[in-house]
């Protein structure tokens, strides 16, 4: 039975608090963690708990009660020499165009995309084992800001930002799920994985990039740069992530949406997160046009999809996959592609791990597009000879319904440098793949259905082998796409057979009837 001193008996007493009221130790001089060496003990030793044994277990300073984790990070902050800057994407080696990350700039002088370039020489002063140990030491704890899967790689993301300026929901660290049954049942594969980036704070992978963008905006505001708020025109995951991170930081977020074109379910995240949501009497292109005009007049930072800061956060998902595999490199990564920033972000994360000696190769990348919005696939089919934007048709994979992707050059660069492949999925294929995956215990979004279709095709053609370690990137939680699943299982989609639909069975509330139905079912069920 519990003794009376087991719990802290009342809030005014300090007697049993193990959290001291004043910092007992000086800040460490060297902030990069030295991995604690603790050997396992098999002694049947004294197991009676004591304050001392608890304190001696971990070698960090316990923070005083008045101090929050942000204060603690400030107290322990150390200087280093890492830095990063904006350069034009894939710039001519002769170019010396660059910008501080503290400038508000979205495109290069020539109008091309920007890229965040890290000082690789400074990072290379530490070897691959150092980085692996450092990143591994930060997992599973709540130390600010390293409890985040993005900021646990802070030196590779925004090295110069003060931890105090970071806006984080401890994003990342998402489930790398072993798709045992799906692999075995549908593909004859034994090493198939789904990186569930959508099992996250706002329900999509956008959190990874948005924590970086909003943190940098937070820094700019503290530097008194003119940023009164952050704006976007989006019907989906971007506005949800933007408004959540702005809300956490107390930064105004502004979302432009076409009136009567979207459901209130699509609005519910920005509204709940207190964004200033303007429902405008126009279509989506009209909203985009208006927000561009408005941000030219007002100092509102534009959280658009060409923003290169966001890719720095997204690339950490690649590092995280390697880390979760204990730094063994998978053979294939399959990423759904719409605006095409994410496939480049994955390339960048893997390439950085290779360049800094954490791994000795990188995976081949596969980009999966909906056939209804497949400009990259068409380009790939011409062997990268001719790119033509397409008119995107409606697809259940709504977040990748994009005909003229802003990051086309980034994606091609990533694919060329990884011997990459592009595949496409029809509506029937992607919905069937989603239903098949769900039937094995997942609950995925239609975009993941697109990626799984690519896998099915490449496995079927023998390009992907049965024992190839393959990771499918899942970009949103299935809970955001329940209507598409309802449509499918209700057999309510024109032109689609819904072969894997599994509707409920209507039964009378009668014991005999229920028993008959169950017996029939169980006779056919797996034993």
């Amino acid at each position: 039975m519990a003794s009376s001193a087991l719990f802290h008996p009342n809030t005014s007493s300090l007697f049993h608090k193990t959290k001291p009221k004043a910092a007992p130790q000086k800040p460490k001089l060297y902030s990069f963690p030295v991995i604690a060496c603790s050997s396992s003990s098999t002694d049947a030793g004294d197991s009676s708990p004591s304050l001392f044994s608890s304190l001696s277990h971990n070698h960090k300073n316990r923070r005083p009660a008045e101090e929050n984790i942000r204060d603690e990070a400030r107290r322990l902050a150390q200087s280093h020499n890492f830095s990063a800057k904006y350069v034009p994407f894939n710039a001519d080696p002769q170019s010396n165009e660059s910008y501080s990350l503290d400038e508000i700039v979205y495109r290069s002088r020539s109008g091309s995309l920007l890229d965040v370039q890290h000082d690789m020489e400074a990072l290379r002063k530490f070897d691959g084992n150092y980085w692996k140990s450092l990143f591994d030491s930060r997992i599973g704890k709540t130390t600010w800001p390293y409890g985040s899967g993005v900021w646990s790689k802070k030196e590779w993301v925004l090295p110069e930002i003060d931890s105090d300026d970071i806006v984080s929901a401890f994003e990342g660290n998402s489930n790398l799920f072993w798709a045992e049954r799906f692999g075995k049942q549908f593909l004859g594969m034994n090493d198939l994985w789904v990186k569930h980036c959508g099992i996250s704070h706002t329900g999509s992978f956008k959190d990874l990039g948005m924590t970086v963008l909003v943190s940098q905006v937070n820094r700019l505001r503290k530097m008194k740069r003119p940023v009164v708020g952050v704006g976007c025109a989006s019907t989906g995951d971007t506005s949800a992530a933007l408004s959540a991170y702005c809300a956490a930081a107390g930064i105004p977020s502004i979302v432009f949406l076409p009136a009567n074109k979207i459901s209130i379910a699509q609005l519910v995240q920005p509204i709940s997160n207190g964004a200033f949501v303007l429902s405008i009497d126009t279509d989506f292109d009209g909203c985009m046009q208006l927000i561009r005009e408005v941000t030219a007049e007002l100092p509102i930072y534009l959280a658009n999809s060409l923003n290169s800061l966001r890719l720095e956060g997204q690339k950490t998902a690649a590092v995280e996959i390697l880390q979760q595999f204990d730094w063994e490199v998978p053979d294939w990564i399959i990423v759904p592609g719409g605006n095409l920033g994410n496939i480049y972000a994955f390339y960048k994360g893997f390439k950085m791990c290779y360049d800094l000696g954490l791994v000795d190769r990188i995976p081949r990348l596969i980009c999966a597009q909906a056939a209804n919005a497949n400009p990259l696939y068409m380009y790939y089919k011409t062997k990268w000879q001719e790119f033509k934007p397409v008119k995107a048709n409606t697809t259940y994979a709504s977040a990748i319904q994009i005909g003229d992707p802003v990051s086309i050059d980034r994606a091609v660069f990533a694919l060329k440098n990884t011997n990459g492949i592009v595949e496409e999925a029809t509506e029937e294929e992607l919905m069937d793949a989603m239903a098949q995956a769900d039937s094995t215990g997942m609950f995925i979004c239609p975009h993941t259905g697109v990626a799984l279709t690519a896998l099915i095709k490449l496995r079927s053609s023998g390009v992907i082998g049965p024992t190839d370690r393959t990771v499918v990137v899942s970009t949103a939680h299935g809970l955001k796409f329940t209507q598409s699943k309802i449509d499918y299982h209700s057999n309510n989609i024109s032109d689609i057979a819904c072969r894997f639909a599994s509707p409920p069975l209507q039964v009378k509330a009668d014991f005999g009837t229920v028993m008959d139905v169950l017996r029939t079912y169980l006779e056919k069920a797996p034993k």
Copy 2:
């Protein structure tokens, strides 16, 4: 630029694969991990990657390509002396009634609840530091089954199950979110946390318990015990979790639901996961009655809420909280309570950490109930003198709308032994708290709103102090409750003022109008 050998060039070549095709090393003799000692290096050493440096970094066996992680676990499996059994809950010390976990038994001979009792003497042969190091060593990787937050504590959960029988989605390891802004803005608190158990595979904390129940059922089926499937009568999270885990294992799951009483959105998870869903022409109590009758006739395992196996999984969330705090103990844990199993599970997890020397005290527990379904609160108010079931009225916190909780005795035991508190929340209070939390960047479910209301009240009365480290347990993803948020922000709930509603603003598609609206908003916005 990448060299041509950077990626694995084609699938038939083995040259650059670091994953050997045959196991190169003998299995280790001692399977409990010895924490690897690696010191950080500041040398500007050779950063060129090599196969050797990569292999030397981690000391585990690389598994051959033909082997999946389940095979690897089988190869490395070791014997130990840990065990557990069913005993009557809070049994008389004289009682010798007990059951093997391999028996199918739901209640004791006298009809009381069961409890899984571990052989604490066997576990005590290892001290607290051993367990902390063991659990910490399993975080952030994909080793079977320890990549799961539940099974990383396997020795404390189902010690005797073969890893091969485990059905896991790598559940757990959920975000322990620092609610910085909510704490600061609404409560003057600096150390407030939300354990987001609902940011999970099926969107609720039920995954934690269901992986244990379905794994044990999987074991029983492999032992040829008569279990043709698993059944439940549930409209919500339980049926979702049950069907997902059964789907992953290929075990038939059977869900009874009242026809015309629930929305198809509530059905979409079991249907997608291929459960056999019977929509029965009766109400919820009628479904419960029918499934009890059916499971008395057919060998269908009943996944009901009195099941004590599920609590073994749920208790790992308590261990995980301590682990995420680097084994420092918070002052308060607030858990929403309906059927009341979860509050006992948290107690059990904390108590086990105390008894085995991982920590030197345990937190005080607070159970939060909806005022519309508050039998525990009423009982607490009588100083535990008189328990009366109540008629549960409709509440937005639908998963805890229970008037006669099955785990009442478990909850009272947990609260008495932690100097616990019970609070309640009206519909207006819980919806306001949800909206307030969302406005600071969260996206919580109404049950979490109940828990936050308890916090607000206890903070306001001074019971919880401004620097008390407090953890609110969030049990489901807000994405499961978008309709309640839409109702609130549309000001569409009778009897509730919806004080924090933040509806979108309708604007004409005109630059001048939009600018005027934005300027007015930005004048009042935080700078």
